[in-house]
């Protein structure tokens, strides 16, 4: 467990272009989620979905440190990971609406978007359910010597699942190129994590020999810097690592979780969104560093909005799969 002070800033040299791409990606996720919520409110989306708003810097900071052919596994709150790894919003919205044009032909929905083209092994609706898969992808990468790594995204709630410790043990024994990215947004559904998590989180991976760091999950540059070090290390064959990203979800556990005051205060929510917003934090810094001005942001925002509107329209207009497709894809 190293502290921030000890670490070299490996992304000091982050180019302006990359910084603006990260800005755009975070903003895209934000917009995507706003639309998802809107689709729910307009009763156009079947079921419920879990929004990633507030946590954008985690997915973007980490995925920016990856190669296109690197793998990720994702969670029930997976839109951000998916977009950050390069998925297209139109096919994602189509999937959210259960349409044939979706990434999973409508069969997966929000909680199961997967995309081999971007190395996305899939979102997973079992908390902790992708820990094995991610470790297995790293196992393959090592055996096949293809230089890939895998990032396993999961919420701090998944710290409750024993399988996580089982696979961290094996990842360390076998020096597998996998990074366990814990998104601590402080809530397991409607329960504060302090009620479900004993001891010190970073000590857990450390006990299995994994290097473990915590990072400000609202600061995309910090996330990216930490992730880059672990990615480099893993790619060099030094094995797994654990990155604890402290963050916050702005909205409910899912789109239907509106009255939240029985488990968290409105002020807390307001404090995070007004003081710790990842998009603003990067935006302010870019302006301060004179790397961008507000006109640039406005242009990006307008472009993203147009793209998202078009994507939503595409998805709404897209046809449902035909009923006979229910029996397809059961077996390869």
């Amino acid at each position: 467990m190293t502290t921030a002070a000890q670490r070299p800033e490996t992304n000091a040299a982050l180019g302006k272009e990359q910084l603006l791409r990260m800005y755009r990606r975070m903003y895209s996720i934000r917009q995507f989620e706003e639309h998802a919520n809107d689709l729910y409110l307009r009763a156009l989306m079947p079921g419920l979905t879990h929004l990633y708003e507030g946590e954008e810097a985690v997915a973007v900071g980490i995925c920016e440190a990856l190669r296109p052919d690197d793998y990720i596994t994702s969670t029930h709150r997976g839109h951000g990971h998916c977009l950050a790894k390069g998925a297209k919003p139109d096919r994602m919205f189509a999937e959210l609406l259960g349409k044939e044009a979706g990434y999973c032909r409508g069969k997966g929905g929000s909680m199961h978007i997967a995309d081999p083209a971007t190395g996305n092994l899939g979102a997973n609706a079992i908390v902790g359910g992708s820990a094995g898969i991610a470790t297995g992808a790293a196992f393959s990468a090592k055996k096949l010597g293809n230089g890939r790594i895998c990032v396993c995204f999961f919420g701090e709630g998944a710290l409750g699942q024993g399988v996580l410790y089982e696979v961290m043990n094996m990842a360390q024994l076998w020096k597998l190129p996998v990074i366990y990215a814990c998104e601590n947004n402080m809530y397991n559904e409607y329960t504060h994590y302090s009620e479900t998590t004993s001891g010190d989180i970073l000590s857990r991976p450390a006990a299995f020999g994994l290097p473990a760091e915590s990072v400000d999950g609202q600061d995309v540059r910090a996330v990216h810097a930490a992730a880059s070090r672990f990615v480099e290390r893993a790619r060099a064959g030094a094995g797994p690592a654990f990155l604890l990203c402290n963050t916050y979800r702005y909205r409910g556990h899912h789109v239907g979780d509106i009255n939240r005051e029985y488990y968290r205060a409105k002020q807390e929510e307001q404090r995070w969104s007004s003081e710790r917003d990842p998009i603003n934090i990067l935006g302010d810094w870019l302006i301060q560093q004179k790397l961008a001005d507000s006109a640039q942001f406005e242009r990006i925002q307008a472009e993203v909005k147009a793209e998202m509107n078009a994507a939503v329209e595409f998805a709404i207009a897209a046809p449902y799969p035909t009923v006979d497709e229910a029996e397809q894809d059961v077996y390869a």
């Binding site: 079947p46 079921g47 419920l48 259960g98 349409k99 999973c104 032909r105 409508g106 069969k107 997966g108 929905g109 929000s110 909680m111 199961h112 997973n124 609706a125 079992i126 908390v127 902790g128 359910g129 709630g157 998944a158 710290l159 409750g160 699942q161 024993g162 397991n188 559904e189 409607y190 329960t191 009620e195 479900t196 998590t197 029985y262 488990y263 449902y320 799969p321 035909t322 009923v323 497709e325 229910a326 029996e327 059961v330």
Partner: protein, 335 residues
Amino acid sequence: MPETAVQTTVRELTFGEAIREAIAEEMRRDARVCIIGEDVAEAGTPFKVLSGLVEEFGKQRVIDTPISEPGFTGIGVGAAMTGLRPVVDIMFGDFLTLVMDQMVNQAAKIHYMSGGTWKVPMVFRATMGATRRSAAQHSQSLHAWPSHIPGLKVVLPSTPYDAKGLLKTAIRDDNPVVFFEDKMMYRLKGPVPSEEYTIPFGVADIKRAGTDITLVATSSMVQVAFGAAKLLEEIGISAEIVDPRTMWPLDEKTLIESAKKTSRVVVIDEGYHRYGVTAEIASVIAEGAFYNLDGPVKRIGAMHVPIPFSPPLEDATVPSEQQVFAAARELCGKA
């Protein structure tokens, strides 16, 4: 107006309310009963089924856990052996996959392996049922698995009345009981007397009397069977609906008697079709009523595919009134 007077004495409760009431009554009656699970306290579960219980019984008896299904189920087993009567909450029945070792290798076998010395009086409450647009990992009806395991009892209530009476029996039982609640039924209303009652295990209920065909249906499929029965009635076929209520113990006698009477049977269940509970029920009837059957026992389960998210696909995977109607009509030679 005696008719309305009778109606007012029978309360209507939702399925969810009936379950909450059963647990609350048993917790009042017996201090050893406690609830263990994720978000069961203030949140009252995501389905709000347990709302209010923590306010009445406190955090010492309504216990929020980490997301550790194997672990907290195992704690339930140990607690049951040593003086408590835990009701363990498995939020989605799909997560039974995570607790099979604790349920099957531990809870189900401890009484037997110990030569009858230790007991495991606990209830596993698990949801089941599709069409909630929750996709393949949040929609399964996996009751065929525990039904296969000696040492477990398995309950599938279909009405608020049954839910309450059977759950009270489950909590009082000295064995591990797996209790399945179709989450799509939580808002279903039905009469539930305010007086105390329990319903014994192993007693099927004839939900509708009929003469031409027997529809054996479980859980929410009882509603589907009612819909089909109405359609059948319109073409002059009288359907009897039999709800076994408990998969184990199984009331073979009532099932076979009904089959003997009507000579035709369709078995409907929302679990995956293949190797599901319809197979056991159909076999029992096919054997027991062999010489009285006019046609083969027909089985209708969920389409044998992982449950898809997309609404038109998902709807197609669940047994429907039309499907049951068509199968029954064909069996009755009116196709």
